[in-house]
């Protein structure tokens, strides 16, 4: 029973990582860049929904929509101003610019919201009015799963299925896949590459906002650096599953979450990160392109 509850907390944490990793992997797949600012978009999403609830008096769901809208716009602006001029530049130049954007977002948040952590109101309160935990009870109350965890898992699955259908069926999704395969050929076929990349960033940032709200609902302290570590974990998750692959990011996120929860429970809290990273290294040695990534041999 103990094992099951660790497993469930791992899966719900992993679902949040998976949502972030989905954004990461979509942007990587199409723009071939490691967007280190992605983690900070999560943080912005958290703050915007926090402000929506605190200052505008919105309920949690409306605040979530507001955060998604703001982050979408933010994603498009950042892409247009900082990344679009560097389309022909080396990947390292883009990487450093992304790091610059990450610093910029963190420090703007520091100026606007201050360094003191904000206490975040979870999307579904952890306890109801009677003081009972808001949770689903199984096996005669031995195992309780909070509704927040259930919501997170459901959100993750819906987003994964939605994105898979979007990229395989819709016109824009097909354009994205075409761009990720060969930008020049896509341009010759009449696809507007810049618009497609903008839309990808918009979707990725909206997902980051969702992840921000969910993350802060689990871990209710909100600081300007809240997004960095989940950002790195999600990046790990995306690589774990095979970067650029949507089911891979989903699988990678879940696995990273479960491994982290198990490592914390059974090995050592201090070394939880190390265990996650060690598993990643072993997986990459056996499968150099990640779990579901395609290994493309070089042709001469």
């Amino acid at each position: 029973m103990e094992f099951l509850s660790y497993l469930i907390s791992g899966i719900s944490l992993g679902s949040v990582y998976a949502i972030i990793a989905l954004g990461y992997t979509m942007v990587y797949g199409i723009a071939k860049m490691l967007n280190f600012a992605h983690g900070d978009v999560i943080m912005v999403g958290g703050y915007i929904s926090f402000c929506g609830m605190m200052y505008l008096g919105l309920n949690g769901w409306l605040a979530l929509l507001l955060a998604m809208a703001v982050c979408t716009v933010l994603g498009i602006i950042v892409e247009g101003l900082a990344y679009r001029p560097l389309r022909q530049a080396t990947s390292l130049a883009v990487l450093i610019t992304a790091i610059g954007v990450s610093y910029l977002l963190q420090n703007t948040a520091l100026l606007v919201w201050g360094a003191t952590p904000k206490v975040y109101q979870p999307l579904i309160p952890l306890a109801n009015a009677d003081g009972q935990p808001n949770a689903l009870r199984l096996f005669g109350g031995q195992l309780s799963i909070s509704y927040m965890s259930l919501l997170t898992m459901a959100a993750c699955i819906i987003i994964m299925v939605g994105l898979t259908m979007f990229t395989s069926n819709s016109k824009m999704g097909k354009a994205m896949r075409a761009c990720s395969e060969d930008k020049d050929a896509a341009r010759l076929m009449g696809i507007n590459v810049n618009t497609t990349i903008s839309v990808t960033f918009a979707i990725g940032s909206a997902l980051a906002a969702v992840a921000g709200v969910l993350l802060c609902s689990f871990n209710p302290t909100l600081m300007p650096t809240t997004g960095s570590m989940p950002g790195i974990r999600a990046f790990t998750a995306a690589v774990f599953g095979g970067i650029g692959s949507i089911p891979g990011a989903f699988l990678g996120g879940l696995l990273i979450g479960v491994i982290e929860a198990m490592a914390k429970a059974y090995i050592s809290t201090q070394l939880a990160n190390s265990v996650v990273f060690a598993v990643l290294i072993v997986v990459l040695l056996v499968r150099p392109a990640g779990l579901l990534g395609k290994y493309v041999p070089e042709k001469v």
């Binding site: 900082a82 610059g100 201090q270 190390s274």
Partner: protein, 354 residues
């Protein structure tokens, strides 16, 4: 002078510039022109210059992105501190002890570089980058779990991975001294680092790297970077050459780490995290990949910039971020480049016509 090769001339100029800076800074310190805070920056700047040079060997010359370079710095720092503190009575001479500590730091970082290099160098591109990031974080956490002390019986070490033990479990004799206290890091270190040692370390590092670049091995490494398959087909051993570059880079980062660690009486392992790796990577990329002189200049300028902006309080990191983005955009975007070349054409008309 005329018979020298162009790159030899270039290198002589670099070394002369370094020596000049060394003399000027020493004179300014002697005259008391530099304030306390500026003097305190000298050793860290030297360390970061060496870090940038060594990372440039991996990223610029070998052509692989490493996001865990601070991990090697951490290994160097803590092994250097352990060496220095445990040799406190055996080697009383400070310069000698500092050199020993830096050598120990370099050797340990080099050994770890070799061990990490075995799996890392099998991968490529972004996968290699994420694995170096992973190793950097693992090293940081492992150091956080270390408890180390020394007494007349030698070194005592505990790997405290469950967080249940404390310094009393080390079993030190009453005269013993605790060197590393787990998450609190190294405390009570005797700070023996000096600016002279820093400048010497920069020069030695630069000398080693430049000699490597223009040697047969260095050319092979760069050939692998430019075209791996072509290099392999002319008989270059890919793994061996990449390993040479990676281990050397790690060892030099270790020496820099030892110097850095011995500059402070307290040091925590959390200092050597992902952000420090990124900081050094920014120096390397802004200075120019493969350009050692550029790395030195970028490291100095970018390390001093946030300190110089200290008067602006909360805005300093914001300004740093904006400077970073603007510099990257202006040096890499084709639009901005055209604009620049148009502006500079007025000044350099004669050259363009010729």
């Amino acid at each position: 002078m005329k018979n020298l090769k162009p790159h030899t001339k270039h290198n002589i100029v670099t070394f002369a510039g370094l020596a000049l800076v060394w003399i000027i800074v020493s004179v300014m310190r002697g005259q008391g022109v530099l304030g306390r805070s500026t003097t305190g920056l000298l050793v860290p700047i030297c360390c970061y210059v060496v870090m940038a040079l060594s990372l440039n060997l991996t990223v610029g010359i070998m052509g692989e992105l490493s996001l865990g370079h601070a991990g090697f710095m951490g290994i160097g720092a803590f092994s250097g501190i352990i060496a220095s503190q445990s040799l406190l009575n055996i080697i009383p001479s400070v310069p000698l002890r500092l050199i020993t500590a830096m050598l120990v730091g370099a050797i340990f970082a080099g050994i770890f570089g070799f061990l990490i290099g075995i799996p890392v160098l099998r991968l490529r591109g972004d996968y290699l980058a994420i694995v170096t990031l992973a190793f950097g974080e693992i090293i940081k956490e492992l150091i956080t779990c270390l408890l180390v002390g020394v007494d007349e019986h030698g070194l005592h070490m505990i790997f405290n991975y469950r967080g249940l033990k404390n310094v009393d479990d080390l079993g030190l004799s009453p005269t013993g001294q605790v060197i590393i206290k787990g998450a609190q890091g190294a405390t009570g270190t005797q700070p023996i680092a000096s600016f002279t040692a820093g400048m010497l370390l920069i020069m030695v590092t630069l000398f080693i790297i430049l000699n490597l670049i223009y040697s047969r091995t260095g050319r092979a490494i760069m050939a692998i970077r430019d075209n791996r398959i072509a290099a392999e087909s002319v008989g270059i051993d890919i793994t061996k050459h990449k390993m040479i570059a990676f281990v050397m880079s790690a060892a030099m980062a270790g020496a820099a780490g030892a110097l850095y660690g011995l500059n402070y009486s307290n040091l925590v392992a959390a200092k050597f995290d992902f952000n420090t790796s990124i900081l050094v990577l920014v120096f390397v990329v802004l200075g120019g990949l493969g350009n050692m002189r550029g790395s030195i200049i970028a490291a100095v300028l970018l390390y001093v910039l946030p300190e110089a902006l200290r008067g602006m309080h909360d805005y300093r990191m914001l300004i740093y971020a904006i400077v970073l983005i603007v510099v990257m955009l202006t040096t890499n975007s084709p639009v901005a480049r055209n604009l620049f070349s148009r502006w500079f054409r007025f000044g350099k008309k004669g050259e363009e016509d010729a």
